[in-house]
């Protein structure tokens, strides 16, 4: 069963952009609740606002209206700097475009979030090597992103997202830039993490993927939550 | 070359990357302004020297005794009246005049200053002519005037030499003797020359009978044969003083030679300063190259697109070359403007202070030269990146994300 602790909550959240004279309503008042230990998917066609929703859930952006709660704390008005620190501790990101830093090796990329939390060099490197092993890249620590395949880069990204032992892993279209087989490998990694107790939030446009592993799926369309489906778990 | 659209495209790009363009222009601007300022001051100094050596001196030869000090002060070796007569007798010498120098003590109430006093023979304008000045105020001395002196222009103003300026007919104390001020000379333009005292030869000899050696002798000679006459004078004096060649205790130089020596030294100093200035331009060129490299990198894909729709390599080259040259042009124009304003203000101040010989001078070539220099600097800095841009592989560029 899903835990009762609320990790992330979006309450009546709206996000508007100004494009010249027009107002684009990317999100028009949505409510999302993510509980501890859940595997939540946010689904929708392109333009549905799912990426925007992901950014807000991950506190990468602030809402125009509504509130966002992280561990029951209202973070809607937090400063960017404070959000960043919070983010680093509690949330791990995985992006569609991998978004690794090109000038750093795989190991260094994984160590980076720890650096921002003040960990010592030896601690960082040790943990990074552990995480590399966990994603089956133990021998590739000194490689640069441009020396790794797409799948390998995404695995490094996963390892990075675990660097600070976050509560939540946010994956934005994690398989978007990968072939089907590799994509499946990646998602099974996520499912492994889920089994170990991590909260996973995944954005995808692939319904099959969404429904295979998720406990909860939010279906978005035109900036609103169209429906919510829950999976019965044994 | 580059068509109208090409120019428009380039200018748009420069405007878009305003920050980068700004800093690049700033760099070259500083370099050019610096060069402009130094060159104009250099021109000013050279023209001053030219002026002094001007027409009035083309036919003059100066003879002085050798010595360890500034010529004329060390009286170990002498040039006497008999030497003067000998020089006068040399073929090609039209007339001669001798001038005695001495350092004297001037006093006004309780202020004491030292100055050079220079003697001349008023009925022979040769000495004053060689300085290319005339009496501006008051009367020139006559041969019979004793007890009267003419002063350099700085004596007139309060605070320049003495706290109180002198006026015509004022009394002036020289070596504790009283003299009357008969007149003032025009300003020569440098503080040294404008602070001298002039007296007629007879009066000098009366006051300082122990000075028997001329500080200098000036001869007006045949302009066309000036080198030959210089040799003749040397021979004649050698004979008269019974000295062997190579062992003379005097030297004979045409004014032109003398000034050449000064010009040479001056050119060296000014040249050195300008070289330091050019270093700033070199660093500015490096900044420009950097900017252009960045521009090429940024527009990598765009260049691929341009080539795909038919731009030739040479056209890409021209576009980038034009951009960097244009930056140079703007920077150059601004640099010249700033340099001009600064030097103009400096000029006004210097002239006001009586140091007009230091004032900067302008020249059409200075403006044109600096502008061309700026454009060329821009162009050269941009050449390498432009060539690289022109050689970009179209397909690779289009694929670039």
């Amino acid at each position: 069963m899903s835990g009762k602790k609320e990790v992330i909550q979006l309450k009546k959240v709206a996000k508007h952009y100004h494009l010249g004279e027009n107002i684009v309503r990317a999100l028009d008042g949505i409510d999302i609740l993510i509980n501890e230990g859940e595997f939540v998917s946010i689904m929708g066609p392109s333009g549905s606002g799912k990426s925007t929703a992901m950014n807000l859930v991950g506190s990468l952006d602030a809402p125009t209206h509504g509130k966002i709660f992280l561990d029951k704390k209202d973070i809607s008005k937090f400063s960017e700097s404070d959000l960043a620190q919070l983010r680093g501790k509690k949330i791990g990101f995985i992006f569609q475009q991998f978004n690794l830093i090109n000038n750093l090796t795989a190991r260094e990329n994984i160590a980076l979030p720890m650096m921002f939390q003040g960990a010592s060099e030896s601690e960082r490197l040790k943990k990074a090597d552990e995480l590399l092993k966990m994603v089956d890249l133990g021998d590739r620590g000194s490689h640069y992103p441009n020396q790794l395949s797409g799948g390998q880069q995404q695995r490094v990204a996963i390892a990075r997202s675990l660097a600070n032992d976050p509560e939540v892993i946010l994956a934005d279209e994690p398989t978007g830039n990968l072939d089907t087989k590799t994509g499946q490998i990646i998602v099974s990694f996520l499912e492994n993490l889920h089994k170990k107790g991590k909260t996973i939030v995944m954005v995808t446009h692939d319904p099959a993927l969404a429904q295979k592993y998720s406990d909860v799926v939010y279906w978005l369309r035109d900036g609103k939550v169209e429906k919510i489906t829950k999976k019965r778990r044994k | 070359m580059i068509g109208k659209e090409g120019i428009k495209y380039s200018l748009r790009n420069l405007k878009k990357s305003k920050d980068r363009s700004f800093f690049t222009i700033l760099s070259i601007f500083i370099g050019i302004a610096t060069i402009f300022i130094f060159v104009s001051f250099g021109l000013g100094l050279f023209s001053y020297i030219d002026e002094i050596s001007g027409g009035a001196s083309a036919d003059k030869v100066i003879i002085q005794a050798k010595g360890a000090a500034a010529p004329g002060l060390d009286t170990t070796f002498e040039l006497t009246e008999s030497d003067l007569r000998v020089i006068n007798g040399v073929t090609g010498v039209y007339e001669t005049a001798g001038s005695y120098f001495r350092v004297v003590k001037l006093s006004q109430k309780d202020e004491v200053r030292y100055s050079f006093i220079i003697s001349y023979t008023p009925d022979n304008p040769l000495i004053l002519e060689s300085f290319d000045i005339g009496v501006e105020k008051g009367k020139d001395l006559t041969a019979s005037d004793s007890g009267k002196v003419i002063l350099g222009s700085n004596f007139r103003e309060d605070g320049k030499i003495f706290s109180q300026g002198y006026e015509i007919n004022d009394k002036i104390e020289i070596d504790d003797k009283d003299f009357r001020v008969s007149g003032f000379l025009e300003s020569i333009g440098n503080p040294q020359d404008d602070s001298q005292t002039y007296i007629n030869e007879e009066a000098f000899q009366d006051t300082y009978p122990d000075t028997t050696s001329y500080g200098m002798i000036i001869a007006r000679v045949n302009k066309e044969q000036i080198d030959v006459v210089v040799e003749r004078i040397e021979k004649a004096l050698r004979k008269h003083k019974d000295q062997e060649e190579g062992k003379e205790d005097f030297y004979v130089q045409s004014y032109a030679e003398l000034l050449e020596a000064y010009s040479g030294a001056l050119a060296g100093i000014v040249g050195f300063i300008i070289i330091i200035g050019i270093i700033s331009v070199i660093v500015a060129a490096i900044n420009t190259a950097n900017t252009m490299i960045t521009a090429v990198l940024e527009r990598y894909k765009e260049i691929g697109i341009l080539k795909a729709i038919g731009a030739k390599n040479s056209e890409i080259l021209d576009i980038f070359l034009f951009e960097s040259s244009f930056l140079g042009l703007i920077a150059g124009a601004l640099g010249i403007l700033a340099g001009f304003i600064i030097t103009y203000v400096a000029k006004v101040i210097l002239i006001g202070m009586g140091w007009s010989f230091l004032a900067p001078l302008y020249n059409v070539w200075l403006f044109v030269g600096c502008l061309v220099f700026a454009v060329v600097t821009g162009a050269i800095s941009g050449v390498a990146p432009a060539i690289r841009a022109s050689r970009i592989n179209t397909v690779d560029a289009l694929r670039y994300e």
Binding site: N55, G58, L60, E80, S81, A84, Q85, R87, G88, F93, Q96, Q97, N99, I101, N103, L104, L112, M115, F116, Q117, E121, N164 | D19, R20, F23, L26, S27, I30, T34, K66, G67, A68, A69, A70, D74, T76, F77, R102, V103, K105, D110, E111, V112, Y114, F116, D175, E248, D249, I276, G277, I279, S280, I282, V283, I286, N287, A289, N290, T291, T294
Partner: protein
């Protein structure tokens, strides 16, 4: 945390390749020129100071007032005389007051002629010894002048090493002609390092008087003190006394009493002034180099928008980003400055050696440690300062806009 930023910055700089090198080159050139000019200027000052032939004894020099465009005694309106000398001798704390005359002579040797300066040697043995000591004169070849010597002279070191334009060196025992009279050279001095002293001729006073007939005129008085601690007071006492003998009022003096410190001071001021002027010009190029850093950093920030966004996404605060870029900019300045200091020091070293040998002085250029350290610190600061605004812009980036891709 700081150290991490440092290494991260270094890594980033390395990756930027050519453009980083060019930026470094700009600063490097500017700093090289500044350091070289400062070093050369200092070397020049040292060389000129050495020309003054500073001796081990602290002496006070008295000269008659005038326009000093040459060796003491030229350009003087009313020279010093024996009354002045006696008066100075009588001043408290004065051990010796020795009259000096410098005359210009024609020196002939080996069928060549040079114009040189001769200085007289006091007749009194004690004064002569003081003279040798005051000017630190030692004999390299031959011997010193004896009281009994008449037509004998000493010559400066340049005569021995053939640096005077006479075609061949002059040795002890040779004869030279001074103003057409023959003299035997009994000794040649060791190298002093001062232009005047290395080219000088020394002869007994009476002989010099014969040649130049200066009689009672004195070009300069060298005053040796009993107690050098009281040098300033003695200077004032001498001035008082001379005012009386020359009958001038205070403020109207027609003579000049100077301590070695004062004379050096003036020359130093002029040279320093010139040095500062030239260095300011050179600083312009450093300034332009700093503009290059601003340029490079601005571009760098723009290019790394994505990386900045990623870093913020994984927990970097604004201050982390700001520091990162600030340090990068500072490093650019520091590295360029370091290279510039090294190169500039090398140039100034060889330059000073060159100048010294040209002027015939013994000057050993030394490494100016404080200057070097200051320059390094300042280079870093200049770089960082140039990078402040770009760094602030970097810190302000919004991660979402960037990662959205």
């Amino acid at each position: 945390m700081r150290a991490d930023h440092f290494f991260l910055s270094l890594k980033n700089l390395k990756h930027r390749g050519l453009r980083t090198w060019l930026t470094l080159l700009g600063i490097f050139i500017g700093v090289t020129v500044v350091i070289a000019l400062i070093g050369l200027g200092n070397g020049l000052k040292l060389t000129v100071e050495a020309q003054f032939g500073v001796s081990s004894l602290e002496v006070i020099t008295v000269q008659a007032g005038g326009l000093n465009f040459g060796p003491p005694g030229s350009g003087v309106s009313i020279p010093l005389d024996m009354d002045d000398l006696e008066a100075v001798k009588g001043v408290n704390n004065v051990d010796y007051a020795i009259r000096r005359n410098l005359e210009t002579l024609k020196l002939e040797y080996n069928d060549r002629l040079v114009i040189g300066t001769a200085i007289d040697l006091p007749e009194d043995k004690e004064e002569a010894d003081v003279f040798y000591e005051a000017l630190d004169l030692e004999i390299e070849q031959g011997r010193k002048l004896k009281e009994s010597d008449t037509n004998k002279i000493l010559l400066g070191n340049n005569f021995l090493t053939n640096k005077v334009d006479l075609g061949k060196p002059v040795e002890a025992g040779d004869n030279v002609k001074l103003n057409n009279k023959s003299f035997e050279v009994v000794g040649l001095l060791e190298k002093q390092g001062s232009f005047i002293l290395d080219n000088i001729a020394i002869m007994p006073r009476t002989k010099l008087d014969d040649l130049s007939d200066f009689g009672d005129e004195i070009d300069m008085i060298i005053v040796v003190l009993k107690d050098t601690e009281l040098i300033e007071e003695t200077k004032e006492d001498i001035e008082k006394v001379l005012r009386k003998t020359r009958d001038v009022d205070e403020g109207e003096e027609d003579f000049d009493v100077s301590t070695p410190a004062a004379a050096l001071e003036t020359v130093n001021q002029v040279l320093t002034g010139v040095q500062i002027f030239i260095v300011i010009i050179a600083l312009i190029s450093v300034f332009v180099g700093a503009i290059g850093i601003i340029n490079t950093m601005t571009t760098s920030v723009m290019e790394r928008r994505k990386d900045i966004g990623i870093m913020k996404a994984v927990g970097a605060r604004n201050s982390d980003i700001f520091l990162q870029f600030l340090i990068e900019a500072g490093l650019l300045g520091l590295i360029g400055g370091l290279a510039g200091v090294v190169f500039g020091s090398i140039i100034s070293y060889f330059g000073v050696v060159g100048i010294a040998s040209f002027l015939g002085t013994e000057v050993s250029p030394s490494l100016d440690i404080p200057l070097t350290l200051i320059t390094l610190v300042v280079s870093f600061i200049i770089g960082a300062a140039a990078g402040i605004i770009p760094a602030i812009k970097a810190a302000k980036q919004n991660p979402v806009e960037v990662i959205r891709g």
